[in-house]
Amino acid sequence: MIRMYAYCAFGMDIRSVFPLTVLERPEGYASEWMVEISEESVALIPDLPWKIGRISYGSGLQWIQVEVPWAARYRIEDDSRILVEPVPGVAPGQVTVYLEGLVLPIMLRHHPLLVFHGSAVRNEGGAIVFLGTQGSGKSTAAAVATGFGYRVLCDDIVPISASAMVLPGIPRLKLLPDAYGQIMGVPDPRAFDGVDKYRADLGVELSPSKIGAVVILESSGIGALHLELLLGREKIKGLLPHLCSIEGIDDPKGQFSRLTGYLGKTPVFKAVRPVEGWSAQTNVEQILAFIEGGQKSWCD
């Protein structure tokens, strides 16, 4: 008898033979999007056309295949099945890392979604999406926001639907040790993700939420936090670098149409914080107050 684990992520109801680190499916969780992850033999497709480093991938009408030579061969069929053939002797954690971080996000491409790298939180006023480059403080901002009544919708991958709803992704934050220490206290070794961060469960939200605002986090040599509403071309230019775009699978024209269509009316703010001498707690509180106040520009 093969043990099946039950999880929820990205609005999917997942049954998997592989243990994952995403949230276990809570009692009463309902989703129409059922996904089954099974261990099976996956036929080699030589010369998959696209590459991300040493990872190769390709797609057909109803399938996408991903080859991670040191972990596993993954085949996505329709939007409901993932077949996995692990490399013999590979540590289970390696198979899981690519399932969660690459294969499940790729599977989102079966639906007409906008997919960003970022974090998202929500309260009764709607969802706030934090975007930014690596190390800009997206997860930290989401963690701090939970102290102001927000709940976590997504970390790392943020899917947004045509009706400008932020879908719940993986609502489990991953924080660097210093941020974890500031917000959660002494890091718990059991929360270590095996790479460089600690998982923090803070006010999980599993229902989609209408997007209220997007905040693009940046840092510079300025002396104080600066906030600005982006409009028109500046808005699109600001959002674009943070889209998860996979060459060969994502169509730039489709992404542009979705970006302008889904988020054309959403307020997008740029928040520039000083490189040094800043406090995540204070800055996030200021950002939230600014958004909730509906201002257009502000400097501390």
């Binding site: 409009l231 071309r233 808005k235």
Partner: protein, 87 residues
């Protein structure tokens, strides 16, 4: 005939027309006046007809308006956002 290059996508965001040249990945933002000129060019397909509509719509000295129109259209051509095609 004047037309938008096939690789160029246009969309309205915050009252500003945003153009993406999908071949180059470059974005352009047009203000309200630029947006109207582009609309007229695409709708009429002929530069002179577009200029006539532009002059009718904008209550400004015709000579200056004409200069602004021609300068803007030359910039659209320079950026290869519009193409001239034989009918």
């Amino acid at each position: 005939m004047v037309r938008l290059k096939k690789a160029v996508l246009a969309s309205e965001v915050d009252g500003e027309k945003v153009l993406l040249d999908a071949e180059t990945g470059v974005y352009f933002g047009l203000n309200e006046t630029g947006s109207r000129i582009l609309d007229f060019l695409i709708e009429e397909g002929v530069e002179e007809a577009a200029l006539t509509r532009f002059l009718e719509e904008f209550d400004a000295p015709p000579e200056r308006t004409r200069e602004d129109f021609l300068l803007f259209v030359s910039r659209l051509r320079e950026k290869k956002l519009i193409l001239d095609e034989a009918e």
